[in-house]
C-alpha cells in the first residue's frame, strides 16, 4: 500500500526532535514503526511529517543502578531488551517481550513504541503498570516524570502530549512478578492479559478489559477472582470474545499472573 505523501526528518538529539515536532503541527514521532506504518497504510493516521527517532542514541540503552533500578531508553527494541544482561535484573521484562508477535517485529518494535501506542491489547502497558514503572516525558517546558498509572490515559492515548517525547522508562528493583495472557495463536494479539507483582503486597494490572490497564490490590491469591469481579468492569466485546467471556478470561489470567508472582515469595 502506498502511504499518503509524508515528509521525513531524522534528528540526532532529543532537543532537535522536539524542535521539529514543535515546528510542524502534523508531525508525529516514528519509533519502530511496527504499529504506526500499518496504521498509516490504513489511513487511520495521516501525519504530515514523520520524526524518525532511530538516529537518537540518547533514547537507546539499558542501565542498571546499584540499587537495582533499571533505566530503559524507549527506543530499545524488544530484541535488545531480551538480550540485555542488565534487563535480567527484572526477568519478567524479557520474558514478556519474548511473547510479543514474532522475531521480525521484536527486531524493530520498541519498548517506547509499544507503550506510547497504548493499544489496550498490548503487553507492556499492564506489565509496566503492575511493576511500578515511571516515565520521563520531555517537551518545550522541560522534563516531567509520570507514574505508569497516570501515563496511560485512554485508548491509543498517553500522557505524552503533542510536541512531547517519552525519553526514559524507570523500573524499580523487584523479582516477584508474573504475566499471563490468552492470545490469538502463540504469541499473537492478546484477548485478555494480566500482570502481577509482589512488592510487600500483591498488585495486579489487567489489560484488554478497559481503555487503560485496570489496577487491583487484592489481599492475596484467594481474593483475586473476587477483586476482578467486583471491579465494575464492562470489557469490550469483539469477534474473539463476548464481554462476559472476556471478563471470565480476565479472572483466569489474573489468577495465573498472581500465582507466578507469588511463587517462591
Amino acid at each position: 500500500m502506498l502511504l499518503r505523501e509524508v515528509e521525513y526528518a531524522r534528528p540526532s538529539s532529543v532537543a532537535d526532535a522536539l524542535a521539529v515536532l514543535a515546528e510542524h503541527d502534523g508531525a508525529r514521532a516514528l519509533a519502530g514503526g511496527q504499529t504506526l506504518i500499518n496504521v498509516m497504510k490504513a489511513r487511520a493516521a495521516s501525519p504530515d511529517v514523520l520524526v524518525d527517532l532511530n538516529g537518537i542514541e540518547a533514547l537507546r540503552g539499558i542501565e542498571l543502578a546499584a540499587d537495582g533500578t533499571l533505566s530503559i531508553g524507549p527506543m530499545t527494541t524488544c530484541a535488545e531488551l531480551i538480550g540485555s544482561a542488565e534487563a535480567k535484573a527484572r526477568p519478567i521484562l524479557g520474558e514478556v517481550c519474548a511473547q510479543i508477535a514474532d522475531v521480525q517485529v521484536r527486531n524493530r518494535g520498541t519498548i517506547g513504541g509499544n507503550i506510547c501506542a497504548n493499544d489496550p491489547t498490548n503487553h507492556l502497558p499492564p506489565l509496566l503498570t503492575a511493576i511500578g514503572a515511571q516515565m520521563a516525558i520531555a517537551g518545550s517546558g522541560g522534563e516531567r516524570v509520570v507514574p505508569a498509572e497516570e501515563f496511560f490515559v485512554g485508548v491509543y492515548l498517553t500522557a505524552v502530549g503533542p510536541g512531547e517525547l517519552l525519553t526514559r522508562i524507570t523500573i524499580p528493583a523487584g523479582k516477584h512478578d508474573g504475566f499471563a495472557s490468552v492470545t490469538l495463536g502463540v504469541d499473537g494479539t492478546c484477548i485478555a492479559n494480566a500482570a502481577a507483582s509482589v512488592n510487600g503486597s500483591l498488585r495486579i494490572a489487567l489489560g484488554c478489559v478497559d481503555a487503560v490497564p485496570v489496577v487491583l490490590n487484592p489481599d492475596g491469591l484467594d481474593s483475586v477472582p473476587a477483586a476482578v469481579r467486583s471491579a465494575g468492569l464492562n470489557p469490550p466485546a469483539d469477534v474473539h470474545a463476548s464481554s462476559e467471556y472476556r471478563l471470565h478470561l480476565a479472572e483466569v489470567v489474573a489468577v495465573r499472573a498472581a500465582q507466578q508472582a507469588l511463587k517462591g515469595h
Partner: protein, 160 residues
C-alpha cells in the same frame, strides 16, 4: 534543526551491490526493493505486517520490509533472497527446501528462507521449538509448515 523533506537520496548495499536512488519518504522498503531496484524475489503478501513474505535482513536483523520506510534504510546493508545463492550455487538451506518439498505455491518461500537463514546464523543447531519460534512471523497459506520445518531441521543437521 534536522532537515524535513518529502524525498531523500538513499544509498544502500543490497546483496553486495551498492545502489543510490532518490526516494520518496512515503515509499516502503519492500516497494523500493521490488520496484526501484527490480529485485522481485521478496514478496508482498498481506501488506499488514502479518505474513512475513517481505522479510529481508537489514544490518544483520531480520525485518518485515513492509513495515519500514526506504529512507530509513539509508546506509544499510540489506540481504534479500536473491543474495543467498552465491554464484548460482544454492545454500544448504535452499537445497533442503528442494529435497523436502518445502513449498507448494512458493509465495511465502523467500520470507521463509530469510527467516530460517537468520535463525541458522545465530543458532546453528536449533531445537524444534527454536525452529518453530523462528518461523512464527511467516505465514504459509498452503499450510505446508511441516515440510518447511523438516527442511530447516535437515539444513541445521548439516545436509539436505
Amino acid at each position: 534543526m534536522a532537515a524535513v523533506s518529502a524525498s531523500k537520496t538513499v544509498t544502500v548495499t543490497v546483496n553486495d551491490t551498492v545502489y543510490e536512488r532518490e526516494v520518496e519518504a512515503r515509499k516502503l522498503l519492500i516497494h523500493f526493493i521490488r520496484d526501484d531496484l527490480d529485485l522481485t524475489g521478496s514478496h508482498i503478501g498481506c501488506d499488514t505486517g502479518n505474513c512475513g513474505a517481505c522479510s529481508v535482513i537489514v544490518d544483520g536483523a531480520l525485518v518485515k520490509s513492509c513495515m519500514m520506510l526506504a529512507v530509513q534504510a539509508d546506509g544499510a546493508t540489506i540481504e534479500t533472497v536473491e543474495g543467498l545463492a552465491e554464484g548460482g550455487a544454492l545454500t544448504e538451506l535452499q537445497q533442503a527446501f528442494s529435497a523436502h518439498h518445502a513449498l507448494q505455491c512458493g509465495y511465502c518461500t523467500p520470507g521463509m528462507l530469510m527467516s530460517a537463514t537468520a535463525l541458522l546464523r545465530t543458532t546453528p543447531s536449533p531445537t524444534d521449538e527454536q525452529i518453530k519460534k523462528a518461523l512464527q512471523g511467516n505465514i504459509c497459506r498452503c499450510t505446508g509448515y511441516w515440510n518447511i520445518f523438516e527442511a530447516v531441521k535437515a539444513a541445521a543437521g548439516g545436509g539436505a
